[in-house]
Amino acid sequence: MDRQFLKGGPAAAFVTIASLALASCTTASGGSSMESASASAADTSGSEDSPYASTYERYPGVPTALVGAVIYDGAGGRIDNGTVLFADGEVVAIGGADLAIPDGYTQIDGTGRYVTPGIIDIHSHLGNYPTPSVSAHADGNEATSPTTPEVWAEHSVWPQDPGFSRAMANGGITSLQILPGSANLMGGRTVTLKNVPSRTVQGMKFPGAPYSMKMACGENPKRVYGGRGRMPSTRMGNFAVNRETWLQAQEYAAEDNPDRDLAMETLAGVLAGEILIQNHCYRADEMALVMDMADEFGYQVAAFHHAVESYKIADLLRENEVCSAVWADWYGFKMEAYDAIPENAAMIHNAGACVVIHSDDENGIQRLNQEAAKAQADGRRMGIEIADADVISWITLNAARAMGIDDMTGSLEAGKMADVVLWNGDPLSIYSRPEMVWIDGALMYDMNIPMMRPVSDFELGQPGEGDVK
């Protein structure tokens, strides 16, 4: 139960249906001019400075031409009756019906279908809170100290979580960020994954993706530690512990050849701009304070997650170039979610700040497209018109920017990774589902081919193995 609370989100206070023990917990077009968060990010693909390096290599693919579909390029562009070409793992070109298809390309008829970049979830706990949701699997919160910058989410990720395959087949998810939970002020390093089935987490790690560090404001840290009679027990205590820790980090960062200290290495990486900050934070006033704290110590928040009150300070978020990673319409599960409104995303976007739609949920990650569509429609009803192509960026390029991987994926641009979803209809409609999903140009899911539906080790020999799910 603490699980969802600490994941950050909510918990439907109730439950029954899914055994629910669940309590609740829980960027770019938007006219934003935000720079990529990845500007100075460190490469994580394997040097002695990068332990546990990615071993992921793309799977074989064939040069492919998707022809005749509506294309949302993820960067705000739309092409009707378009063509997408990809080969050798990369997007080669996109264009209209007149785009020449080179010899040797397998053509797929996209008539009546839609193409988007692979969907990206900036906030997931697949792998570190996997299903089955038994306590032996609850590896997302190192809730033994309010600051644990030394822990790395990748050391908790179970690659056999059946949720990864659901996210791909039902949600078109090709990349996702796994975060530590929100029990702690500084929860540890996140890990960005390619959504490919793998025996090891290293086999999923997104090559070249920067690390982020998870931070959390508000109710969770003060409840968890205050409940144990230790600091922090208040929001002011939250800030005091954070500031003291940043002071230590500044001292560490100023040393020449300091002794190794895993916690300080992470924090120094943040101060150096190599590690991004993903900050769980609900309330507008707290976000404003966090942005001042970032100024005080010289770092940048990439995104506020669960930012249900961003609509109240969308101007500040725009000026500070901080994305808001939000649900479409979750509300009310905890006090700091009381002022959540379904128009939040549209109002943030309308102010010129960066919107990302996130899940924080193993079910919600299967429907980020629907959540984005709801948020768009709630905006329209209050007079904010946002083009479909821009809405798609909320779950593709904006997420990639806030994760620092937008130079590699998140949009269909020549030279980027061929992370592509072919939908059997408009992805902003309830009636559409992913039909085919490619990751780095390799076909990883095909709705029409049962064997192209990955099954985790856990589900082998169980009732419903290989079912459509």
Binding site: A13, S19, E362, M382
Partner: protein, 430 residues
């Protein structure tokens, strides 16, 4: 004399004061009656005296009745939300505001949500604005497998919400039940059998067995369960558990069961169908969240319906689920029909699964969740296909009374429509 209105969002925003039941006719709309049939284009709905008179094509508007031009809109019965906590909670994690569970109470089966329901809770208003007009409200189990008695409510903007108190009893009989019963399913069945036996004794002897395990109130509360006068909602997921629950009727033949959850119901769908026991389930459970849900699939609903089971979509599956998102769950069932190997629902079946079917399980068959003569005049006028995520209600009527759709969320939206504070802070905008 006819009044003609255009149904626009602008017009909608002007309507904030509910008035008494209106006689109303809507013409030219796409009408879904909720009975499982496909939507009807260019149809008419007539409500008189708070009750539906007729819906469909070829329906005459009585002379002199106010008529709305429904062109471009959809008109449906209101959504019936099953297994909700509406009115029991303001903020889930603020325990003082949360009456779902009574973990320290000496009572269990006797607990009754009816007097605790607060129709002024914001979630009532949010759900109403989402087109939910009636619901079942359910207590949560926390110290005993019997959670207590739920109620049926309407979501009208008044304090007269409960339309049937003590409508059903709730019992947990899966993994969670095992935990509550002492650590094993074996104890769940011992506890259920003993409790029902004590209730039967109470019923037959007219007196409480003071040597029994139940309090007087709890034994009394289970009398209508064991005599079949009150439904017993049983939360259960695993296929084998479902069969064990159905077999309870060998010993207690009058039990009027409803299965809640039934994640693996598709594996024993023919047995459930043969039992005649209906199911209320979340539509999108597709992960092995526990060892009693290993066979979870979104095709559960469709496969059970295909086997002849009566299935309503309801309940909360994940933290973000709210009653107003029921159409999204139903719409996904329609989408599933286009996935090879999956079993979904037709549009009409899907819409019925959140209207007439749950209303029927809730004891309102033919009287709610359906646009049929004599049914409650619960109408929702939508700006598009109600199962589509981009659609929302324009106007909502309950028993012919137009309902306000404003609430805390809509007020916040309007306050922060602009961030300009050059003259005064936002606190002065209302």
């Amino acid at each position: 004399m006819k009044r003609l209105f255009a149904l626009s969002a602008a017009a909608l925003s002007l309507i904030s004061t509910p008035i008494a039941a209106q006689d109303i006719a809507i013409t030219g709309a796409t009408v879904a009656t909720g009975d499982g049939s496909d939507p009807i284009e260019n149809a008419t709905v007539v409500v008189q005296g708070g009750r539906v008179v007729a819906a469909g094509t070829g329906v005459a508007v009585p002379a002199g009745m106010a008529t709305l031009d429904g062109s471009g809109t959809w008109v449906t019965p209101g959504i019936f939300a099953s297994i909700t906590n509406l009115g029991l909670v303001d903020v889930g994690a603020v325990s003082d505001s949360n009456d779902i569970r009574a973990g320290n109470s000496p009572y269990h089966a006797a607990l009754d949500v009816s007097p605790a329901i607060n129709p002024a809770a914001q979630d009532f208003g949010y759900s109403r604005a989402g087109g939910v007009t009636r619901a079942s409200v359910t207590p949560g189990a926390s110290s005993n497998i019997f959670a207590g008695q739920g109620a049926i409510v309407d979501l009208g903007d008044d304090f007269d919400a409960v339309t049937e108190r003590r409508a059903f009893q709730v019992v947990e009989m899966g993994e969670r039940g095992a935990s509550l019963a002492g650590g094993s399913r074996t104890s769940v069945y011992a506890m259920v059998r003993n409790s029902l036996s004590e209730a039967r004794h109470y019923a037959s002897e007219g007196s409480w067995d003071e040597h029994g395990m139940l309090t007087r109130l709890d034994a009394e509360a289970l009398v209508p369960v064991v005599t079949g006068q009150q439904k017993l909602y049983v939360t259960v997921h695993r296929a084998a558990d479902i069969l064990s629950v159905l077999a309870l009727r060998d010993e207690f033949p009058r039990l009027d069961l409803v299965l809640i959850g039934a994640t693996e119901g598709w594996m024993v769908a023919s047995q459930i169908a043969a039992s005649g026991v209906p199911v209320i389930t979340g539509a999108l459970t597709d992960l092995p969240a526990s060892f009693e849900q290993l066979a979870a699939t979104q095709s559960n609903v469709g496969r059970m319906v295909d086997a002849g089971v009566t299935v309503a979509i309801g309940g909360y599956e994940s933290s973000g689920d709210h009653p107003r998102n029921l159409p999204q769950q139903a719409g996904n069932m329609v989408a599933l029909n286009r996935v090879p190997g999956a079993s979904g629902l037709s549009w009409g079946e899907a819409f019925a699964a959140i209207t007439s079917v749950p209303a029927g399980i809730g004891g309102l068959e033919g009287r709610a969740g359906v646009l049929a003569a004599g049914a409650h005049g619960d109408l929702v006028i939508w700006d598009g296909d109600p199962l589509e995520v981009s659609s929302a209600p324009l106007r909502v009527f309950i028993d012919g009374v137009e309902q306000p759709l404003d609430n805390h969320q809509t007020r916040l939206r309007e306050r922060y429509r602009t961030l300009d504070e050059s003259q005064l802070p936002p606190a002065y905008r209302r």
